[in-house]
Symmetry: C2
Subunit: 331 residues, 2 copies
């Protein structure tokens, strides 16, 4: 009965229930800060001849009640849309039993990435947004925006949504997807940024959210920056905020803070702490004294492993996915 489960995009989508994923991602952040996780640095294969790269993201985490190991193989090929009608970023994930290394599942890592990224924002929002947050702004209506709203509306009672993007078709699609559930409208960056919660999910290199646009107690999830030079929020937003990161090495290298950090405009003194330390209770989340808060999320390999754990456990229980004998061991 030793089979490997193949979980494609639909299987991942169906089997990763957001509330459970948010809890697993919270566990993963805590395990990482407790030293109960292993996450070797991402390794890169750069292919300038194709204007692309591959990244390998192996990880192990022990959340106490469960542990999980795996690797995500993910690429960034910006010409894919024009040249091949393929997404810029695709991921494939191998999820293994840490105890004996049996490959439990092979998963679509693209859908998994979107889900775990939404869940990370939800964990941060849960600890950092005002309790009665009811409005949410989203800047950028691309593939990552959907799971931002899905996930964050699990931790706060979001009623009003402002979606901001220069691409009107994207905005219309986003509104279509959510208009039955939320009071949703297209709006400017300023309107989005004045909401109780804001998620930015754009690839810009020049900040598009000015300090004065941000509400007095807005919590911002800065999700877009994933490479050197990317930068969505004005430096003053970052400097004035309670600034929380997912990982020091990754955020200073390629997260929202990478540009001001490497210019010396923003230093370690401006960083409040890691989300894992807030989850663990080593640091406070939002307090009454706080104004703007920012979560700089780069995305950690332990999030992928935690999400794969949720997907696999559900799919296995529900007999979803395609079970097959990868290694010839089932006979």
């Amino acid at each position: 009965m030793r089979k490997t489960l193949l979980l494609n995009k639909d299987d991942v989508h169906e089997n990763v229930q957001m509330p459970e994923l948010i809890s697993a991602i919270e566990d993963a952040f805590a395990a990482y800060e407790s030293g109960d996780a292993q996450m070797p640095p991402k390794s890169y294969i750069d292919l300038p001849q194709y204007n692309g790269d591959f990244r390998s993201m192996p990880a192990y985490l022990d959340a106490g009640d469960w542990d999980a190991a795996g690797i995500k193989w993910v690429n960034v090929h910006p010409d894919n849309g024009d040249k091949y009608d393929l997404p810029t970023v695709m991921g494939t994930m191998i999820y293994s039993d840490p105890e004996n290394a049996f490959p439990l599942a092979l998963l679509d890592g693209t859908e998994l990435t979107m889900l775990r990224t939404g869940a990370a924002a939800a964990v941060a929002t849960d600890h950092l947004a005002v309790e009665d947050a009811s409005s949410m702004g989203i800047v950028g209506a691309g593939v990552q925006s959907y799971t931002q709203l899905r996930a964050i509306s699990e931790v706060r009672d979001i009623e009003e949504v402002v979606i901001s993007d220069l691409d009107e078709e994207r905005v219309a699609d986003f509104i279509d997807a959510f208009e039955d559930e939320f009071d949703i409208r297209a709006g400017s960056i300023e309107e989005a940024a004045s909401c109780d919660v804001l998620s930015t999910v754009t690839p810009v290199e020049s900040p598009i959210v000015p300090r004065e646009a941000v509400g007095d107690h807005t919590h911002i999830n800065a999700m877009g920056a994933d490479a050197e030079g990317k930068h969505e929020l004005a430096d003053e937003v970052l400097l004035d905020a309670k600034l929380v990161i997912d990982d020091h090495a990754q955020t200073t290298h390629s997260g929202e803070i990478n540009v001001p950090y490497n210019q010396g405009v923003l230093t370690d003194d401006d960083i409040y702490g890691a989300i894992g330390d807030i989850v663990l209770g080593n640091l406070d989340g939002r307090t009454d004294a706080d104004g703007v808060s920012v979560f700089d999320s780069t995305g950690l390999a332990i999030q992928d492993v935690a999400a794969a754990h949720v997907a696999y456990e559900h799919a296995f229980e529900n007999d979803n996915g395609y079970a097959f004998d990868l290694l010839g061991l089932a006979e």
Copy 2:
């Protein structure tokens, strides 16, 4: 029509034809020495609580006529046999199109590893054994021994085979598998080592092949050592031989030469060169003046990628494997 091919153990076995694989592995060694390959260092996740580890092996290579990218995720869990009735080592491979990163295939990496390891020994044997080699000794009748004989008999006209192992059942199984094709018998290490070609595929840490046992012009493929402390051949064998390696960093760290190298008994002056430089013609293979030759093989990620390329190309042409829509892009 964008589907990912799932290739299980049988699919890999059927679609990787040894002559083509040997040629692809030869291309891979050449590409590596030419600077036309990328192979980031293996990264490890150590799980002492389970007496096991995971290794990630990403690679890209450009062989001129073809290029290939992928990653193998492989483990070493020595207690697996006793505790779980599972192999100590299992592998899963993701094979991607370098141009746009589409995941072309997910493969059983265990069968793939055995095949590419055999093929590496065959490449070395082709360049380093005497032309008229007709006898082959194998020390160690475990899972890796089979592909040694399969592969090497493609490059030399092997008639006589001596298999040596303390485990009589393994020896009997090995003889069973090959007695129709070869004049094969069980024998001592000395008898195996006096053949024209010898492959050692054991996990020992104390040398079992003494200098005096080795034939005057025997070519030895030292395949067993894959971790610090492992060591199959007496130091005198290594010091007297034309000593060829697959990769300097890997062999000095965990290959057959790692123990004497790190004790200072064997130095860089004792290493003749890399197999890739012999393939490229930068260095001679066997010359009339040569006596014993040794190939220290640790196994490179580029071999896995080259083997996956062969498996995928054949399976795709022959409509083998299970084609599925991993990423939800086929509609």
